[in-house]
Structures are given as C-alpha cells and as structure tokens.
Symmetry: C2
Subunit: 144 residues, 2 copies
DNA sequence: CAATACTTGATTAAATCACTCAACAATTAG
DNA sequence: CTAATTGTTGAGTGATTTAATCAAGTATTG
C-alpha cells in the first residue's frame, strides 16, 4: 500500500509546473533543486509525463517543461497511474488494468472475499485521487 | 498501492481458521492445499500471526493452528499491518508508524500538499480495513 | 559554432518479494 | 522408548522492482 518515490517526485514536480502554469517554462534543474529531486531520475519521470501527454518540453537554451493541460483537468489519480500503475491494491479489482488472479481458489468473481473488500478499498482510493486535481493539490500547499 | 502476496495469503489462511473457529485446529498443509499457498511460505506467515497474538499452535501429530481471538475482534487492518506494515501510502501520514520524510522541502506539516491528500487516502483505507472483521470477511465469502 | 537543455537507452546498486531448505524441538501413537 | 508427525527457526536464493546514474546523443539559442 505504498506510493513510490517516483510518483511522489512526479507530483512534486507537477506542483512546480502548476505554480508557474501560464507564466513560464521551467527547467528540470530548477525543479530538481526546489523539490530536492535527483536530476537524472527526474528526467525519466518528466519523460513519462510527456509521453502521457501531460507536459511538453522544448530544447535549447530557453528550453524547459510546461503543463499542456490546465491544472484543473489533471487529477492525481491520472498521474499516479502513469508513474506507478493501477491504484487497485490487487489486480483482480482494478478497473483500468484488470488482471485475473491465478492462484485464488475462488474462480467465481462474486465468491472471493478478498475481491469484495479490496474492491471497496480501490473505490475509496480512486474516489479521492480521481477527484483531486493539480489545482486542489497546489491549494493544499498554500493553505494546508 | 499494492497488497503483497504475503498479506493476501495471510488473509486467506485466516479465512480457513475463521471457518473452523471453535471447531477444530487446522494444519498448515490443509490450509495450503485449500487456499493454494506454498506450505513453506505459509509457515512464516502463520508464525508472524502467532507472534502478533492472533493464532495459537500446537505441535505433534494432532497439532495445528487455531484462532486465539474471536473473528469479530480481528480486523483486516490489523492483519495487513502485521504482514505488510503500515496502511499509509507514505510514512509521514502513518498513524501507527509515523516517519518524517527527509527530502520533502515542506518541513512544516501543514504546508505539504502530499501529506494533505495522502492523509485523506490513508484515512479512507483505514476506515474500511479497521472496521472490517474476519467475520465480515467470511460473510463476504459465503454471500458475495 | 559554442553553450545550454532536453532525449534516449543502457546500466547498476540496493532493497524487497516470494519462496525454499535444512536442522531442530515437541507431541503423540504404538 | 521410539518412530512418525507437526510446528519452529534461521538462513539462503533467484527474480523483480526501485531509485537512481551515465553516457552519447539531438535540438535550440546566442
């Protein structure tokens, strides 16, 4: 039940990008310094976010990263799914990346007690993270 | 955000023990066969549950495992904490195993946006798992 | 062209996960 | 008593994941 460093860094990086959304591009070094993230690791995180269509980048001396979408259209759920994979605690209750469980003796979906309770957990997590935008995230920063 | 195999096996093992609570002891081999769990791995899971005071064991030919506490007094939250550690997605929002985050630039508790949202996630998960007993678990099995 | 910045792929050290093994201790049936 | 059965304990192992790190690029700007 843990959030990876990758996702944590990714969220903190996106916080910086949210704070200067519509103002300027930011370079990875600035993000890395402000958020205490190793630059080279940040690199691949930003790359993943770029592939997923959340940020854009430009090269050269005035290069850097920008948010492509508005911060109120990006949810933490999306970000974590990109960087960490499905939110569900177990494959067989994931809605975005369902996977049949092999060793479970309860082949029948409705009979498995693990699925039953973990389904609720998944929904509870997704309810929060899929309705929490980067804007909310940045607001939680300013206010607490 | 994943449940380990260890916890999953542990819950399924406790399900078997719940089903025969007050009736008979069960041997690890029976549990392993019914729930498709490797015996040797199950061994150390049951040992951890024993150390935590949830099950008792006896040796010898008529040996086996039994639940010590009533199934309505054991919650899935307890079990998962024993086998997987804290429910919180990040150390700095754990209530049972708080750990200061080192690299976060927001030393102030109230200023950190990650803590803010992950605190809600932790609470949502704990709300479910700490109020879901082994009895509920077994009921979810019979009914679906 | 030189400096700066992103791009990409490969590589790695450490930790965690999911087992596996082996030697041992206790209990019970005969 | 002793042999069979079952739990106890600690150490070990291979695979995977995590969290980086490195190096050789390509593009842009001054």
């Amino acid at each position: 039940m843990k959030l990876s460093k990758k996702s944590e860094y990714g969220l903190r990086a996106l916080l910086e990008l949210t704070l200067s959304y519509g103002k300027a591009t930011i370079q990875r070094r600035q993000i890395a310094e402000r958020q205490h993230i190793p630059v080279e690791f940040l690199e691949q995180i930003l790359l993943a976010l770029k592939r997923a269509g959340l940020v854009a980048s430009s090269r050269g001396m005035k290069g850097g990263y920008t948010l492509i979408k508005s911060p109120d259209e990006i949810t933490l759920g999306q970000v974590i799914r990109i960087l960490d994979g499905p939110l569900a605690p177990i494959g067989c209750v994931s809605k975005t990346a369902y996977q049949k469980c092999g060793d479970c003796p309860y082949a029948d979906h409705a009979q498995c007690p693990v699925q039953h309770v973990m389904g609720s957990v998944r929904d509870a997590i997704a309810d929060i993270l899929d309705h929490y935008s980067l804007d909310d995230f940045a607001a939680g920063h300013r206010k607490g």
